[in-house]
């Protein structure tokens, strides 16, 4: 590289009356003219205006400037503007430095002389720094125009459909035998009470039929490597023991199988077979054999399913299959799991048969559920009195301190359904009624009008000890009505615990695989709570649905569409530009101590055993500087924030 003597142009902005007169801009400009390497120094009313920028462009062209300093507002405001001007004039945009003399000087300093002195120091520092700037380059790397979606609840399905619609290849990975997630278990959904199956099933079918959606059910992602635009993903397809090509989905195997296992999909309220499809509308409708319960696998005898399968689809010899795919972006949509209320023994779940979780109730209420949608107790009778207990496991510092957001609404949905289907008396115990959302408050009002007893108070205990002989066989719900300041003891036939939401099992492993963070409660962290709710700190990885935090279906779908949109917007250009301001490790200085390898939060530094030095992966590095600060031999440095540049600033400022 030929050394080019720096020729700096310094421009002091008046910013109308925002900088001048507090800062004596002419004095600063005169001062700047005397600094090392400064070829020209000017002041102007509005540097960011077109004529202001033209000064810079013309000076670069006519006076042969190769560095520019603008002293004006915050670089967070106009750095891009002036960098563009430099580029336009033919010099590297990185040959530019800004002095923030408005936000950090004229607006915060009372005395004019002090403000002027501070501005002079800032300009001197900027000029000293810019002399050492280097022209940086970043690379365009080609991206894979395909997307991996992990989890096929409504979030994963929606994201897949949106991305597939835009023409992208989507790999949708679901660990259960069928796609659908929690929503597939519901009968009615708040606030409109439309039928979940009616709106969900078409989407499931569409996802299965779309040519560019590759469905991997009964599968798990086992590793993700690489970086934005090029993730290498390995998927493990668990053996179904049923050939998907041959199976016609006739269901005979499920009729013939002699083994009964409590159905996960029905929350243990009904049985499935050892060869099973979780529910009638399952997609795909090819069953799987549950090895742990299959008599043939356990004892070596039976094969009833095989005998009766006309399509000869049963294949006991299947084994794990690994599929390697390359994708440009990943959408995590692993959803949630419902809180297990067993530890709250005071509520009697698992002790009293008529205490249900909300998910169990969803199945009880579902037309395809164990009671064909009739709300019945275990003895086959409809309940006469039902209690619904809000916030079980939520807003409780012993369990989950946060609000699970959907429980108030689904509890009211239950209240409505119980009233409608059985006419039973309904008692709802809530802490605070939370119904924010379009048509939600209206739904609350409607439920109030339906004659539901709404009690503001946390339930203390649910017991089978009754207060009056005529209540024998009932459960007594003990709670304080905090509005009436009275302790209530309500005998009921059935109790529904509105359990909270917690991160899906295994989401810690997924987060580690994807290199994304989880918050204190275990939900995946978005990049910014308000402005980047579906991005993560790892570029190319996006979030959809409840895996980011509890939310209802409308919000889940909106977020899923957004995640697909972000992924598509990232990949649509076909390339991604790597960051320019990233780490560089000088191989001549590196002593091979590997401290930086451990320091890097992005695993962007690897160790080259051959050369004995650490090497930065440009595509992964985010430029945080953890390596630079830790490097004992100063071999690591961040471009544009290197030692020389910061030292120059320090010298000028002190």
């Amino acid at each position: 590289m030929i050394y080019e003597k720096p020729r700096i142009g310094v421009y002091i902005c008046h910013c109308g009356s925002n900088i001048s007169p507090k800062v004596d801009v002419e004095a600063v400009a005169r001062f700047a003219a005397g600094l090392d390497n400064v070829a020209v120094s000017r002041d102007y009313k509005f540097m960011c205006s077109n004529p202001g920028q033209d000064f810079i462009v013309n000076d670069i062209k006519q006076m042969g400037l190769n560095r520019v300093v603008v002293a004006s507002c915050s670089p967070r405001m106009h750095e891009p503007t002036f960098r563009k001007a430099c580029e336009k004039a033919g010099i590297s945009p990185h040959y530019f430095q800004m002095a923030n003399i408005r936000e950090q000087t004229s607006w915060v300093t009372a005395d004019s002389a002090h403000a002027t002195q501070k501005a002079k120091d800032q300009v001197a520092a900027a000029a000293a720094r810019v002399a050492g700037h280097a022209a940086l380059t970043s690379r365009e790397v080609a991206v894979q125009k395909s997307i991996l979606v992990i989890g096929a609840g409504i979030a994963g399905i929606q994201a897949s459909l949106t991305a597939a619609e835009a023409g992208y290849d989507v790999h949708l990975v679901e660990r259960e035998p069928s796609i659908g997630g929690h929503m597939a278990k519901f009968d009615k959904t708040f606030p409109t009470l439309d039928c979940a199956a009616c709106i969900m099933t078409p989407k499931m079918v569409e996802a299965a039929q779309k040519e560019n959606i590759h469905l991997h059910t009964w599968s798990e992602v086992v590793s993700v490597e690489g970086f934005v635009g090029n993730y290498k993903v390995r998927v493990r397809k668990k053996p179904r023991y049923v050939d998907m090509e041959k199976c016609t989905g006739c269901g005979v195997c499920q009729q013939k199988c002699p083994v009964k296992v409590p159905s996960e999909f029905d929350e243990g309220l009904a049985f499935r077979k050892a060869v099973y499809s979780p529910f009638p509308q399952a997609v795909p409708n090819t069953p799987v054999i549950d090895k742990d319960h299959c008599i043939y696998f356990q004892k070596g005898k039976c094969r009833a399913c095989e005998k009766f399968c006309e399509a000869a689809a049963i294949d006991f010899n299947q084994a794990d299959e690994f599929i390697d795919i390359v994708v440009g972006a990943v959408i995590a949509a692993t959803g949630f799991k419902a809180f297990d209320p067993s530890p709250l023994t005071a509520y009697g779940y698992g002790i009293f048969p008529e205490v249900y979780t909300s998910l169990e109730f969803e199945r009880l209420n579902n037309a395809t559920g164990p009671t064909a949608g009739k709300i019945l107790m275990k003895n086959g009778q409809p309940p006469r009195k039902v209690a619904i207990v809000h916030c079980v496991g939520s807003r409780d510092r012993h369990y989950r301190k946060y609000c699970s957001r959907v429980c108030c609404m689904y509890s009211m949905k239950f209240a409505h359904l119980v009233r409608e289907k059985t006419g039973a008396e309904v008692w709802e115990f809530y802490i605070d009624m939370r119904s924010p959302g379009k048509l939600y408050e209206e739904f609350y009002n409607r439920v109030q009008e339906e004659g539901v007893h709404l009690v503001r108070g946390r339930v203390a205990q649910i017991t089978d000890i009754t207060d009056h002989p005529e209540d024998a066989g009932c459960l007594t719900v003990v709670a304080e009505n905090t509005l009436a300041r009275r302790v209530l003891r309500v005998p009921v036939d059935m109790v529904i615990l509105s359990v909270g939401l917690e991160p899906a099992a295994g989401s810690d492993a997924v987060s580690r695989m994807l290199g994304i963070q989880r918050d204190a409660d275990g939900w995946y962290n978005e990049l910014h709570a308000k402005l980047a709710p579906v991005k993560t700190a790892a570029s190319g990885i996006f979030l959809a649905g409840c895996c980011q935090g509890p939310k209802d279906i409308p919000d889940t779908v909106a977020q899923a569409s957004a995640a697909a949109g972000e992924a598509v917007s990232l990949l649509s250009r076909g390339t991604v530009r790597t960051l320019a301001e990233i780490s560089y490790i000088d191989p001549d200085r590196c002593s091979g101590c590997r401290i930086c390898v451990d320091m890097c939060p992005y695993s962007a530094i690897s160790f080259d055993d051959g050369a004995g030095v650490a090497v930065v992966n440009d595509a992964l590095c985010q430029g945080c500087g953890s390596c630079a600060a830790a490097c004992p031999s100063s071999a690591a440095g961040i471009r544009h924030f290197n030692d020389g540049q910061i030292m120059a600033e320090l010298e000028a400022l002190t």
Binding site: R76, E103, V108, F641, L653
Partner: protein, 140 residues
């Protein structure tokens, strides 16, 4: 004789404290003029030698501002800085300087008033400590 006016160097994170300083400006919150701000991308890139250099060059106090724990844009650079500070402070003490001259604070992007408050207080602390002799006394 005029009162001692300390020279303060503030090295702050682009994502939080630098933004808070901008916000203090937009909100016209006045604070002592003695502070000179250097923008880092993250406190995680704060090298011990920057702090020592500042003192050697004549700074009377060095203020570091980073994101609150858990909020670091780069996951945990702020915590790395927090771990580094006691080591640097120990060096200062070895040379006979109060480690109060070096301070690390978490100031979030929306905390303009906190920035004003911390800087004002820090300047007072340093003013009370008097001029630093580090530039002449620290022989490295």
């Amino acid at each position: 004789m005029s009162a001692f006016e300390p020279k303060i160097i503030a090295m702050v994170c682009n994502w939080c404290t630098y933004t808070a300083a901008d916000l203090a400006g937009t909100s016209r919150l006045m604070y002592p003029h003695n502070v000179r701000i250097i923008r880092l991308m993250c406190t995680g890139m704060l090298d011990a030698k920057y702090v020592l250099k500042a003192f050697l060059e004549g700074a009377d106090g060095v203020f570091i501002g980073g994101c609150h724990p858990g909020d670091c844009h780069y996951i945990n650079g702020n915590l790395k800085a927090a771990r580094r500070i006691p080591g640097i402070a120990a060096i200062l003490e070895q040379f006979g300087f109060s480690s109060e001259r070096l301070e690390l604070k978490w100031i979030g992007a929306s905390e303009g008033p906190e920035f004003q408050e911390h800087i004002t207080r820090f300047v007072e602390t340093i003013r009370a400590l008097g001029p630093s002799q580090a530039a002449t006394a620290m022989i490295l």
